[in-house]
Point group: C2
């Protein structure tokens, strides 16, 4: 029998509480067995939450286990992703993973039962394991309430340790702001973190005050009293109100095995075989309960409207001065003709121009205020529901959400991030507002696409392209207005580039993107006046990068290349070019980037001071030709 061909058990729908308690013990036993068999994992963190999950899955979670894509399904996110033994033991209990797979696959090479859950499993929405992300992702419940308008609930199992992450409070804040009664956090307050007791230990009153202050309904219970758990879950899952729910469940780590229960030193440690045997005995032995729990409503919710009314993108005239950030907003508003396109912003939509989408499609715009982690998490959350989110803020402030962006890639989420006000070009605001690391940051994300257009026409084309890209895509826009360089008919494939100046006798190649492309063109003009022919490449696709065009240019200009970027020297445009040309036999590259700490000033002053203006590019070219 292949691991995928698991026989579906005869389900016991809506098990009674006694059976739920039995199921809790089974989940503990299987968590112990799986982690011991793997020699790694977190049995004690699973055991504390076993009763909570037994009651939830057995009696409340509306889920068609045979059809994880059922639009009426509830959603279950393990924000405490290290409790994966518990999650996978649930999958065994509902019959979608076999005991054999659990025992031989967990944490093994090539298995889908990874150390922390990822969406290689069809029942997993988002990857977790970096704490403080599951609940923010759960704010994707926005989709249920405002887009699908469907009665499903999003249940999130949280650890108590992760309540120290500010992102958890950003999530509750946004959930209450958006009245997400369909979001329920179940906090497993087991008192013990990895290296010792948590900050608040079992002080569920303190948690209650905080959660209530952030707008949640709170149900504080003994997490091992299945009747209390049942009542709390029933009340928390009620959609008639307007507040998110938080169940504070006081539990004991390692519950049910006296050798470890509520003891320090057992985080993330599987039991040795002899201990595991004793644990299973103390827990009442192995069981093979097969449960299913309630089904989703047969009349599914309104499905995602994938209709694609004709998108009429903006058209720009060559020579007109248009900021690429403005072209972004105008194109996004036009893209809104696609009903799956959703936008959100970090309270700077009048700067990023996302406000144009908000005005045109207010029902699909979500203001995330100044909470960039939640901004990206909400994009992931609605993205995995099938929508196409565009999230924007100042490019510099996406650094705030890097862990979320990294995890979005592991979640296999397709999200579009757009950062404005990049580089020293922004001028007087100074370095705190200047994205000078964003290209490096975004390029190093797995499977990412990184775009940096120089004019409005290419921006319009690339924003449209982003809407169909898989994975994390990022587009960098510029504050100031610069000339439109391209006709509206020009095409800008992702992974391509544009050669703007080209002659058979080119002696040097100038490579720019965004604001430095204009500088490269001006430098080429200066050089032409001196009798030097310079090739100019618009490297609007930073990742993937157009290696053939770069290689051809290197060959044509005897390896002489000047790269100019409004970014720190490491990891950006220069790295992209050098990585693409690593095998080129003859190369003499001068790389101009922002090496010193900038201050305030005008764009012109700062670009020049950074050594990336036209005169510096021309000088660098002359240096290569000397």
């Amino acid at each position: 029998m292949s691991l995928q061909e698991v026989p579906v058990p005869t389900p016991s729908t809506d098990i009674d509480l006694a059976l739920a308690a039995e199921l809790g013990q089974q989940l503990r036993v299987d968590s112990v067995r799986a982690s011991t068999s793997a020699g790694s994992g977190h049995p004690t963190s699973s055991m504390s939450a076993a009763d909570l999950m037994a009651v939830l899955v057995g009696r409340h979670l509306r889920y068609d286990w045979d059809h994880p894509d059922h639009p009426g399904n509830d959603h279950l996110i393990f924000s405490k992703g290290h409790a994966s033994p518990l999650l996978y033991s649930i999958y065994k209990a509902v019959g979608v993973v076999s005991d054999e797979e659990l025992m031989t696959g967990y944490r093994r090479f090539g298995s889908r039962l990874e150390g922390h859950p990822t969406p290689v499993l069809p029942w997993v929405d988002v990857a977790t394991g970096s704490l403080g992300q599951g609940l923010p992702d759960g704010v994707g419940a926005l989709a249920g309430k405002y887009l699908d308008e469907a009665p499903y609930r999003v249940w999130v199992l949280c650890g108590d340790s992760e309540m120290a992450e500010g992102s958890m409070w950003e999530a509750l804040d946004k959930a209450s702001h958006y009245k997400l009664a369909n979001l329920i956090a179940i906090v497993d307050v087991n008192r013990l973190g990895q290296s010792g007791p948590t900050e608040l230990s079992w002080d569920t009153d303190a948690y209650r005050r905080r959660a209530e202050a952030f707008g949640a309904r709170v149900y504080a219970i003994d997490g091992h009293d299945v009747a209390a758990v049942d009542q709390a879950i029933a009340r928390a899952g009620d959609l008639s109100g307007e507040r998110p729910a938080v169940i504070l469940a006081r539990t004991r780590k390692g519950r049910g095995f006296s050798e470890v229960e509520d003891r320090e030193g057992w985080h993330g440690r599987p039991f040795p075989s002899d201990m595991a045997e004793r644990a299973v005995i103390e827990l009442g032995g192995e069981r093979n309960l097969a449960v299913r729990g309630p089904r989703p409503a047969e009349a599914g919710p309104a499905r995602l409207d994938r209709s694609r009314a004709e998108v009429k993108p903006p058209v720009y005239d060559r020579g007109q001065n248009v900021a690429t950030r403005k072209a972004y907003g105008e194109t996004l508003a036009a893209l809104g003709a696609r009903h799956d396109v959703v936008a959100m912003d970090g309270e700077v939509s009048n700067s990023t121009y996302a406000y144009l989408f908000a005005q045109a499609h207010p029902g699909r715009y979500f203001e995330m205020y100044i909470a960039e982690q939640q901004l990206v998490a909400a994009a992931v959350g609605v993205g995995v529901r099938g929508y196409r989110p565009f999230a924007s803020t100042f490019a510099a402030f996406f650094t705030r959400a890097y862990d979320f962006i990294r995890m979005a890639a592991i979640s296999r989420a397709s999200i579009c991030l757009v950062g404005s006000h990049a580089g020293v070009e922004i001028g007087a605001d100074g370095p705190s507002q200047m994205a000078l690391e964003d290209l490096a940051m975004m390029r190093s994300v797995h499977g990412s696409t990184v775009l940096y257009p120089s004019d409005a026409t290419s921006t319009a084309a690339l924003v449209q392209a982003m809407a169909d890209l898989d994975g994390v895509s990022y587009l960098r826009t510029t504050r100031g207005a610069y000339p439109v360089l391209y006709d509206a008919t020009a095409t800008f494939p992702v992974g391509g580039s544009k050669v703007l100046r080209f002659a058979d006798d080119d002696q040097v190649t100038l490579i720019g993107a965004g604001v430095t492309l204009d500088a490269c063109l001006a430098a080429a003009d200066q050089l032409r006046d001196e009798g030097v022919s310079a090739r100019v490449i618009d490297l609007y696709s930073v990742k993937p990068v157009d290696a053939p065009t770069l290689t051809a240019a290197a060959a044509a200009t005897r390896g002489r290349m000047v790269i100019a970027e409004d970014h720190h020297p490491e990891g950006g445009l220069g790295s992209a070019v050098l990585e693409a040309l690593a095998g080129t036999p003859e190369l003499a590259v001068t790389h101009l980037a922002v090496s010193e700490m900038p201050g305030s000033g005008t764009s012109e002053e700062l670009l020049d001071a950074a050594g990336i203006s036209a005169s510096h590019i021309a000088d660098a070219a002359r240096g290569l030709l000397a």
Copy 2:
């Protein structure tokens, strides 16, 4: 008169409330004048907080303006850094900045009066301007309470918009956990954000519930009633309790100028000249009050103990298997003989081995729990007090704090970050726990140092070196135990490298760091058996990188190089090498890195699957020689 030579006015110490109100008007007038003269800036955000700051600076802030390094000085942080016109107007009022400098310098190129405050000004502790960071930095009040044991206070002016950042709540949580009565947040609740009203508008009751739930004393007042402000500040600044204080000041954005007061659309917009003239008239005209406010206690606090008792670092024997993370903890504990060395960790000290420092020097260890933003901010906060912080967590989780790391560089803070459990080497835990972007992220930080040792001996040396480096330094450690490669007498200068295999007839260069260095050595052994001599370089200093040694190796091996790194292909070791060799005439580099999404497995399985194990390195070398 140079801008630096400002005559010190005769101070009016402890001005009365009527004069404080006048000072508030002066600060408004000067904020308007400065921003209008610059054609940029945030006058309305300054005007809302002017009365708060007038009362604070005129009557409560204990500060010797002629000696910003006075150890008894209070500290004033503008978490809402965009209110820089207000801050600089204060500097004028206390006589350390001239009116001329304010009017001709603000936001101008080359001026120290940057768009957002940075420590190029001696009265500024930390750079702000990325919201939600000033209060977390203020948790550096830990130094006052626990290290200096001095009675100074840390006052932080916060915006209401930034209360949406989770990091603000991480800060209050840690401030209450550590009983920081010496930290006072003054929240300027002016109701209006950049693009519209804030989430909570003037609902100071909602803010109160949240702040109290997070453990703060709360004083809610009318922020334009100087008597109320005075009482609140007096009470908030009292150090006899154990709770941080939050003053919730209801204010009006643009206060005092009827054309803009409490109106939308005026965020970050200077007034045109005619409006500015009307504003100054309505505010009662220009003033030139010279105030100083209270002085710090003459008997300064116990100064930072800079004694350097002899550090006895651990010594490792060649061939012994020692994890570099363990070597980190052992070296850090030894470094604790230096009384300026402080450590903190994100609740994983038993994994990073920071617990060894905590055991040896409990008074200088701060547990930051699972709050990586606050972890880095606390490091910055105590770092700018003159201590040398080492902050550790899993390398992957530093992505959570990237904005704080970036801003630490702008703050000119010297902090040491140490990330453990890097790359696929970690094994079964899976991709959420694998740092595969950290080298790219850390390299692109301005002025950073990035170190990645392969063995315990080099780790011990580099950790000691870090303790004296300027700026942000980062060291990446490895989970598993690998052989000690070097004698204890070996030296490891930052910016250097080690050539471990070397012969005159080297045909190819193998470059690794951390776990891939062991793979390079094993590959060299395989190649030697085939008669191929391979040079092996330990590139432990990723930034700065040892360009001369790389260049020499490229020349010696006809440009044939294999680079292997346990990191995504972008921005890491490969980029560092390629950037260093950009001008090398003959180059044929094969770059091995983690290109596919990893899952779980053993270290060996995952390193091999990623194509960065010894056999792949040897194959790549053979490919270059074919």
